[in-house]
């Protein structure tokens, strides 16, 4: 499994935001997050300030990896999504390509089947942008120094 750095231009970042924004608008989910399987956030939409995004990403990646191991135990290659149903909030996490995850938080106002359907559409659109970013030329030079705060 090769690993590589990922660089998004301002344009690509805006396009990813647009994909997720459309997903939020079309489905009524309250939060949509796109992340790498290493836990890094790529894009977020509908997020309240108090939401611990970094922790959500780390735990979503862990949960998905567990479900993947579970899938192999029962003879599946992978489960392409997981769904946690709560009283006030539901969490849906879907695989986007092989290396990315789309997470949606939603309540009773959003329809779970619609979320599943549109998540697939959103993941495909986001993957197009990511693939483009992966082929981009490197950005401009940076300064050698940095400051530890």
């Amino acid at each position: 499994m090769e690993q590589h750095h990922l660089v998004f231009s301002e344009e690509d970042a805006a396009l990813l935001d647009l994909c997720l924004n459309r997903f939020v608008e079309d489905t009524g989910v309250s939060v949509a997050l796109l992340m790498g399987r290493d836990g890094h956030l790529l894009s977020k939409q509908g997020v309240e300030k108090s939401l611990p995004i970094d922790s959500l990403c780390a735990l979503a990646v862990g949960a998905f990896a567990s479900s993947e191991a579970l899938a192999r135990l029962v003879g599946e290659d992978s489960f392409n999504s997981i769904y946690h149903q709560g009283v006030r909030c539901n969490v849906y996490i879907a695989l986007a390509g092989e290396a990315y995850l789309l997470l949606a938080l939603f309540n009773y106002r959003a329809s779970a089947p619609l979320v599943r359907l549109q998540a697939k559409v959103c993941a495909e659109a986001a993957l197009t942008v990511i693939n483009r970013a992966e082929m981009h030329a490197p950005p401009s030079r940076t300064e050698e120094t940095f400051t530890l705060q």
Partner: protein, 200 residues
């Protein structure tokens, strides 16, 4: 590996604390969480057993550095040290930009230190990565204990590469930030080099 977002002006990196069970990986993160202001860190997530052994991982997001107007976010993870949690260790290593190998200085656990170090190299191979390719430093923890082996012996055992090694007593906070700052600098230098060489 690192994610650079020119839209949000953020660079996200992942640092992993690796080492045998009970060597003090979680203590490192707990001290960092305790000492850093809430403006520089998020909440710490610990997935532990009722006996406070790490079951899955500990996670602490911090933000300590800036490069040319870009905020560098470091996601700190620990791995579960116990031998039978290897699948989880592999998962946590995915996408790591830098590593701290935390060694327990006590004479009695040298074999565990060695086994864990070897396990780290094997698990990195699964990602087609070698220790030489990643910023990696050592922390010799539990230096306050009377049965701690001398530093030259730990160097001999674990530091064939001659990477920076720090003495620590993580439970008291000694050496924790020295280790963290050294790794952050190392990772940022590595990223800067990759950016400048066109690898990013």
């Amino acid at each position: 590996m690192a994610t650079v977002n020119h839209g949000t002006k953020e660079i996200q990196t992942k640092l992993v604390y690796y080492g045998p069970g009970m060597c003090g990986k979680t203590s490192n993160l707990q001290h960092i969480h305790l000492q850093l202001g809430t403006d520089k860190r998020g909440e710490m997530v610990s997935l532990a057993t009722p006996g406070e052994r790490t079951l899955y991982f500990d996670f602490l997001p911090i933000s300590l550095a800036q490069i040319k107007g870009y905020t560098v976010k470091f996601s700190l993870y620990t791995v579960p040290g116990q031998v039978y949690y290897n699948a989880t260790r592999k998962l946590v290593l995915r996408g790591a930009d830098g590593l701290v190998f935390v060694a327990d200085s006590q004479w009695e656990v040298m074999e565990e230190n060695l086994a864990s170090f070897q396990n780290l190299e094997e698990n990195l191979e699964e990602y087609h990565t070698r220790l030489d390719d990643l910023p990696c430093i050592l922390q010799y923890n539990k230096r306050d204990l009377p049965n701690a082996a001398p530093v030259w012996y730990l160097d001999y055992l674990l530091n064939a590469r001659g990477v920076p090694a720090f003495e620590a007593t993580a439970i008291a906070g000694t050496g924790v930030f020295e280790t963290l700052h050294a790794l952050c600098r190392y990772v940022v230098r590595d990223l800067t080099h990759r950016l400048d060489s066109g690898a990013l």
